[in-house]
Assembly symmetry: C2
Homo-oligomer: 463 residues x 2
């Protein structure tokens, strides 16, 4: 009898297993196969894409090298080598995961895990039965296709298949201007591909959680490096044209490309794992219903990550796994809170958001105060040749931090300081008096706090 069996060894499952072990529980993991340990994020998502993004970022930095007295004599690009480096990182992390679990005596049972009853998970065709006091479902999500766009790994790729590419395409058509679309647009463009990026809505990153200003900055930079962005546009049809595809867009144009990449959403993996048999409730969109402790309607069965809501981020799953385990151990204070889940996009800029945008805050009835500080005059950003972007801090009239939106150098790391303050309910009063190092990018965050707390000093608004 295990204290906890976790179905799925992706980000949430693995982090949950380590956390349960730390907290003294006897825990086991169930995962489809040794090759899928680490889940989508590790094998087909954030880890390999951030690897390639780092290469793209380096290529981007080349433009500024002369300012540092460094003059390149040219360079060659080789996708096989990029792929090899990328795969090495993924494999290293995956094997480290497994070795670490073994070292900690956390068993991983391979095969599909199916709930038999509230205390039993059956694994794989052999039907190994694992008994558990508690069960955590962390089965993740799968790529979704749209219309007749069935990914074939030849003309049409989704984010499962794109990793098999052996050469940079001369020309690529990316469908969807969300996180996946803008990340790959930047990667392929910097590695020399012509990129056409098609988005149905009127802006890139068309999510209510991302301020329009972030979309606008990103679009401007992507255009500057040569990405052909088509907003308010859809794909009407496509056909094979020799070794390429010909795509027909709603703006009546035709785009010929080597391949089409779909960056258009994912669906939760909730089929065939025994939910129906046990009567575990799902919502209208097919997500497992959980309370603030990640508990399903069966009290000893919990769920985390991509199967609990459309906010499919690895760290949401990791956090929810800890919420579930904390609750099992009697903690009632640790709860899921999507408002505190950071959203970080690595494209031509790092774009990091947490909490509410100004618009969202106004809709919720707040009298909103906003502190905006540009990275343009930030001395560290100037030293690094990356003085573009901004910190936007959204606060209530009484100084509560409601959200923060950073676009610019290392935004993904910088956001964490605001994240911690928000979780601790420390407001702009605290932030405005915080210590920072000089020169640093972090100064701009404290300055944003001062802008809200003491009122703005800007060229435009005073005198």
């Amino acid at each position: 009898m295990y204290d906890l069996v976790i179905v799925g060894a992706g980000s949430g499952g693995y982090e949950g297993a380590l956390y349960a072990h730390r907290r003294g529980m006897k825990v086991a993991l169930v995962e489809l196969s040794p090759e899928t340990v680490g889940g989508n994020c590790l094998n087909r998502g954030c880890i390999p894409s951030k690897y390639m993004r780092h290469g793209a970022y380096m290529l981007d930095k080349f433009q500024k090298l002369p300012e540092y007295g460094i003059f390149l004599k040219g360079y060659d690009l080789n996708m096989q080598r990029l792929k090899k480096g990328r795969e090495k990182v993924v494999l290293t992390i995956r094997e480290n995961f497994k070795k670490f679990a073994e070292h900690l005596k956390i068993p991983i049972f391979y095969g599909k895990g199916v709930l038999k009853d509230a205390n039993t998970v059956v694994v794989g065709p052999e039907g190994i039965e694992l008994k558990a006091k508690y069960i955590l479902l962390a089965t993740g999500s799968s790529t979704a296709s749209v219309g007749d766009l069935v990914p074939d790994g030849r003309y049409i790729f989704d984010t499962d298949q794109i990793w098999s590419l052996e050469d940079f395409p001369k020309r690529i058509l990316i469908l969807g201007g969300g996180a996946v679309g803008v990340e790959f647009a930047y990667i392929f463009r910097m590695y020399g591909s012509e990129v056409v990026l098609v988005e149905l809505k009127d802006r890139l990153l068309p999510s209510a959680d991302i301020p329009e200003e972030s979309s606008r900055y990103l679009a401007r930079k992507l255009k500057k490096i040569g990405v052909d962005i088509r907003l308010k546009t859809t794909l009407k049809g496509w056909e094979v044209a020799g070794s390429q595809v010909k795509a027909f867009l709603s703006d009546d144009s035709e785009v010929q490309a080597d391949l089409i990449l779909l960056g258009v959403g994912r669906k939760p993996n909730t089929e065939g794992i025994g939910l129906e048999q046990l009567g575990i409730e799902k919502d209208s969109k097919g997500f497992v219903k959980v309370n603030q402790f990640c508990q399903t309607n069966i009290p000893n069965i919990y769920a985390c990550g991509d199967i609990t809501s459309p906010l499919m981020l690895a760290h949401k799953s990791m956090y929810e796994a800890k919420v579930a385990i904390s609750h099992i151990l009697g903690d009632k204070d640790t709860v899921r809170n999507e408002r505190l889940v950071p959203k970080i996009i690595y494209s031509a800029y790092e774009i990091a958001s947490v909490g509410l945008t100004e618009d969202q805050a106004e809709e919720e009835g707040y009298e909103v105060k906003v502190g905006v500080v540009s990275f343009v005059p930030n001395p560290k950003a100037m030293d690094d040749g990356e003085n573009e972007g901004f910190v936007r801090l959204v606060a209530s009239e009484d100084g509560k931090i409601l959200g923060c939106h950073i676009l610019g150098p290392h935004a993904g790391e910088l956001l964490h300081q605001v994240l911690h303050l928000m979780k601790a309910d420390l407001g702009v009063d605290f932030l405005s008096k915080a210590m920072y190092s000089h020169p640093s990018l972090s100064e701009s965050i404290v300055q944003a706090g001062m802008e809200v707390h003491f009122g703005p000093i800007t060229w435009a608004k005073r005198h």
Copy 2:
């Protein structure tokens, strides 16, 4: 009559002027000349050195480019161009400062500022008298020479003169393995100079505030890139040898080099500004005595920055200026606290420290708990090809964060999240349950919190 006159428009003076203006005070600045606005940090310190360090860091990153499928065909280096880029950043920041002050109607009076009485500063040879309710002294520091090593800008350079170099030296001898020494050692080495780094003590960065592990990591990396490090060594003498210098070291070796760079300390600028006439007290080392509100023994005269203690960091001065102004405005809660001043060194690694080391905490009688997390398995660090270094979190038995020491990628920005927690007195309990994004470097900080709070999961320590 001004509310506040600030003597010195360096980091502390300038930040103080902006802060006083934000808080509604009528403020004026006094600075030696239009060319010295911004002080040492901007003109001869952190800003130009971090600029060159970014170029060095880029050159360092070149080694990893093949892993990203990027093959350079070679490159040329040009110090004139580096210098030009560096000077452009310095000049831009300095001119922006001045324009911004003008826009905000903060006057800058040029000339040496001397106290006449507790409400009067006399400026320059014209003797313009500025009347003020309060005065903030922010006069900074100057380079100190040692023995017969008088900087001549030909053979012997200090950190005032090194900026005039028009070419990379073939070989440079750096005296002093503190922050200045290790930063320039990295810069010159990456730009192709042979570097001999001489340090009196038995380790680089021989400060009680920096853990030995940081020194060890740095020494290993500097050696790896070819810096010739001589510990427990001093310069016994030197002579001109043709167009070079010949240096005689205490290890009985001779080093021939194009120049000697002194990175050996600074002295506070407290002479000739009227302190003695007004009876403003100094300590035995010549620093102006201030209380926790940065107030001197004359209640309406405050001091900040390099003249208040040997911790000569721009952001210490910036913070102290705000402490002084807050106190003038009636705030008794904002106090100087050197324990919360971050120390960040940009060499072959970013090395960031705040608060106590383990040794210091033990000396203060704490039962110390330490959480150490390596960047080696951090997925974001692996993606970026920079998975070296560590987070060391020092806590008390009851979970108070006493210090944090980060060595590795973007350590200087990462440290801020811990800095805020320490200032808010949030302990490892909070940190261990914090949200983070994945993949991120910041994960390692939360993990360090878990290591302390729940006990370590490491290869070595369990099972």
